[in-house]
Symmetry: C2
Subunit: 202 residues, 2 copies
DNA sequence: GCAAACCGATTGACTGGTCAGTCAGCCAGC
DNA sequence: GCTGGCTGACTGACCAGTCAATCGGTTTGC
């Protein structure tokens, strides 16, 4: 082969993960056979089990890789000097950009984990919760600083904010609403505008 | 037996549907065996196939029964003389009450259909979309009437509104947030307050 | 009245097909 | 010639859906 020395092991592992994203996005986790992943990756069936304990572990790895980035992004926004509103906008922006950058991966994460209460959602509940909690903290600090009204529970606001964004992504995933670069750009500011300013005129 | 003439057929069918809700809610659709449904309903395995073409059809029936009520409720709200904001509040109220009244059924519908893009979501996409569209219409009419600002796309607002509510239900379903009668009552008004007034003080 | 034919509801053992995961060995590079 | 990444045929378990048989109530014929 062309590549001679660099550990091919890591390449193959990555190859399998990337292939899994494509196949999971196309067929969904449940109707994906391990053979489909191996085929898509161009490796032998058994190699999947060389790198991963099970089919589940492939999905777990995909989720954890990405979710940790999201958690880091939220915490970075929270730690910044920006206004609470700008912090929320940064979070929304990160999520939208994640989708723009790799829609298939985000589709898999949302459809198979985040929204799958009975299967993988259970497994990753604590990681998912951490995201909600961090967003709630941004809101609570905003209330403390007088930037947000105090009669809305921060946890509640956090769920609404995250729910609104995820529903947008779902709309794109389901192809219920158009998903052009322009829509992505709009979504970032509109989510924040809706949640912070409200639908009623000021 | 005590009951003599009334068709027991219909009872058994209902019995199977009700049992299916419980089992689906407990184990999820995918890890539910048809035998589990039959056992829970106290009927023979084969009877499930007497009343339903397949395991899928049981879930389809459960979804359609409930979703048609939701669509009717949204359209009734839309047709009323209330303010746009009150219409949204009525929709939120209906959904929250649905959960309060039968959390297991709502759990099944949300987890297995509404949020399952790759399986049943696909099948029922047009029914789901109809709900989003009806909510968008309420928003659009509100904009027309000057009650809502016009720089937020009605489809976008509809997704945010519905997403915020569904995320609340998900929080209850996942047991991430408390679900007392008081929380239900609060949620109804807070969703509308958040979406219509926004987080920032007026 | 009564029995026989009838018929839909009900039963549950069985089958065919599907896959996740195993494992015995191959071979490329050192 | 050894090591470990790599191969893919194989197996055991699982389960949706089938179907032949039974049950129990109703109708028909006399």
């Amino acid at each position: 082969m062309a590549s001679s020395k660099a550990a091919p092991a890591i390449d193959k592992r990555r190859q399998i993960l990337d292939a899994a994203v494509r196949v999971f996005a196309r067929q969904g986790f449940h109707s994906t056979r391990v053979a489909d992943i191996a085929d898509e990756a161009g490796v032998a069936y058994g190699l999947v089990y060389h790198y991963f304990k099970s089919k589940d572990e492939v999905l777990n790895e995909l989720f954890s890789e990405r979710w940790s980035l999201l958690l880091a992004a939220i915490e970075e926004a929270d730690g910044s000097e920006a206004t609470p509103r700008a912090k929320l906008e940064a979070v929304a922006g990160f999520i939208v950009d994640s989708y723009r950058h790799d829609p298939e991966l985000m589709k898999v994460i949302i459809v198979e984990v985040t929204r799958a209460a009975n299967s993988f959602g259970r497994t990753h509940l604590s990681e998912i919760r951490r995201a909600y909690d961090s967003i709630a903290k941004i809101v609570a600090d905003g209330q403390q600083a007088g930037a947000f009204r105090r009669d809305i529970d921060p946890t509640f606001a956090s769920m609404s904010f995250y729910g609104a964004i995820e529903q947008q992504l779902s709309g794109w995933i389901f192809e219920l609403i158009p998903a052009t670069d322009n829509d992505f750009a709009q979504a970032k500011s509109l989510v924040t505008a809706t949640i912070c300013d409200g639908l009623e005129p000021r």
